[in-house]
């Protein structure tokens, strides 16, 4: 039996060290997010209200909005996304340096909303991976702030030493899915007004 004051196990010290590093890094990241606004519709108006003085998301470290994806941490897609913009947001996402996160703001960005038609992407998660979905049509600024705080929580739970490292999520095949179709159908429901339309099909 070890006595008090004796050298602890090296694993214990390593874990403490990793915990300290994670805490420093994650706190820095979470509290200085640089958002890249991608506003396409009325959600962008609420986004601007969130950025303006009354709600002021600079209080949460988002003082600097990056209008270049190369200097941004979090992509906020505010509004509906037509298919014509799908390659654009995909390229913007690819241009952002790791680590990067995505907030899908509003019903249209998250699911296509009422626009279940030929021109509209049914949820931007079919184009880029999404971390936080903010519901609402459009969400109030409080809703977006809550989503940002959820993202803070998620970032603070990440670990640099996790076996599952953050990596670029690439599509599995030419259909553009990032998970096997069975997995997608298992965790999602038919969407839009259709009972025949599944996320994987």
């Amino acid at each position: 039996m070890k006595r008090v004051g004796e050298v602890q196990s090296s694993n214990y010290l390593l874990a403490k060290f990793q915990h300290l590093v994670d805490w420093v890094v994650n706190s820095s990241r979470a509290n200085s997010l640089w958002p890249m606004p991608f506003g396409t519709a009325c959600c962008a108006i609420e986004f601007m209200a969130t950025a303006a003085s009354r709600y002021d998301f600079a209080r949460f470290g988002m003082e600097r909005q990056a209008f270049s994806p190369r200097q941004a941490d979090v992509l906020i897609c505010a509004g509906r996304l037509p298919f014509k913009l799908a390659p654009v947001i995909r390229r913007i996402y690819d241009q952002m340096p790791q680590p990067k996160w995505v907030i899908s703001m509003g019903a249209c960005a998250s699911t296509g909303g009422v626009f279940d038609n030929y021109a509209m992407v049914q949820g931007i998660d079919t184009i880029v991976p999404v971390d936080v979905y903010v519901p609402g049509c459009p969400p109030r600024p409080e809703g977006l702030l809550y989503g940002i705080l959820l993202l803070h929580k998620k970032i603070k739970g990440e670990s640099l030493f996790d076996a599952v490292r953050r990596r670029d999520e690439q599509p599995l095949d030419e259909k553009g899915l990032r998970l096997p179709p069975e997995t997608i159908d298992e965790i999602s429901e038919p969407f839009g007004n259709s009972v025949h339309q599944f996320r994987s099909s």
Partner: protein, 202 residues
């Protein structure tokens, strides 16, 4: 409308409804009638407000191409309609050379309804991307969610090249030609605008 255009056979019928005058014009005489309306003193319809098209729910009714004209001096409005039988070729003469504002309006009608405007200088899709292969969205035969599956639509959309939609003239206006990679500049100079994706195997 007191005087009728002196073009034999051009006028089909005149309807006055809700303070608007609607004139149905024969397709083959559209350009003559429009020229007459624009250039004749006393008519002077010098402003083309809009060009659009209608397909009615009733299958026996023809497609209509609708022109909204306005005379800025006389403060008078006139609506011209051309009826097209959907069984025939959907072709109508372009009025671009009378009103240059018809350029994008006719492109939009072409994009949404598939109506060809003969004599248009640059008739290509304007709202949908140019390699869009599913048809004409505002036709009644077009399914609301498109013809392809969602995954196929996403695949084709992601394979589209956003920069490939511009012509060299448009790029030179924006002074963006120098920023493009060499292969894309060569491709655009040759007039290639991206690859039409293959439809999925059934």
């Amino acid at each position: 409308m007191t005087s009728l255009p002196p073009i034999p056979g051009a006028l089909r019928s005149v309807v006055a409804r809700d303070g608007d005058t609607i004139v149905y014009v024969a397709r083959e005489h559209l350009l003559d009638a429009m020229t007459w309306l624009k250039t004749t003193p006393g008519q002077d319809f010098n402003y083309l407000v809009d060009v659009t098209a209608v397909e009615y729910r009733d299958r026996e009714r023809p497609l209509e191409v609708v022109y909204f004209l306005r005379s800025l001096e006389r403060r008078a409005d006139l609506r011209i309609k051309v009826e097209l039988n959907p069984a025939d070729e959907l072709v109508v003469d372009s009025v671009y050379h009378l009103w240059h504002g018809a350029d994008w309006l006719e492109r939009e009608v072409f994009d949404m309804f598939g109506i060809t405007f003969r004599g248009h200088p640059d008739l290509r899709r304007i709202l949908m991307w140019e390699t869009y292969a599913e048809g004409y969205p505002l036709r009644k035969s077009f399914p609301l969610r498109g013809r392809f599956s969602r995954a196929e639509q996403v695949r084709q959309a992601l394979n589209a090249n956003p920069e490939a939609h511009y012509s060299m003239e448009e790029l030179s206006i924006a002074e963006a030609g120098g920023d493009l990679p060499d292969d894309m500049r060569d491709r655009l100079r040759r007039g290639e605008r991206g690859v039409i994706p293959e439809p999925p195997n059934p």
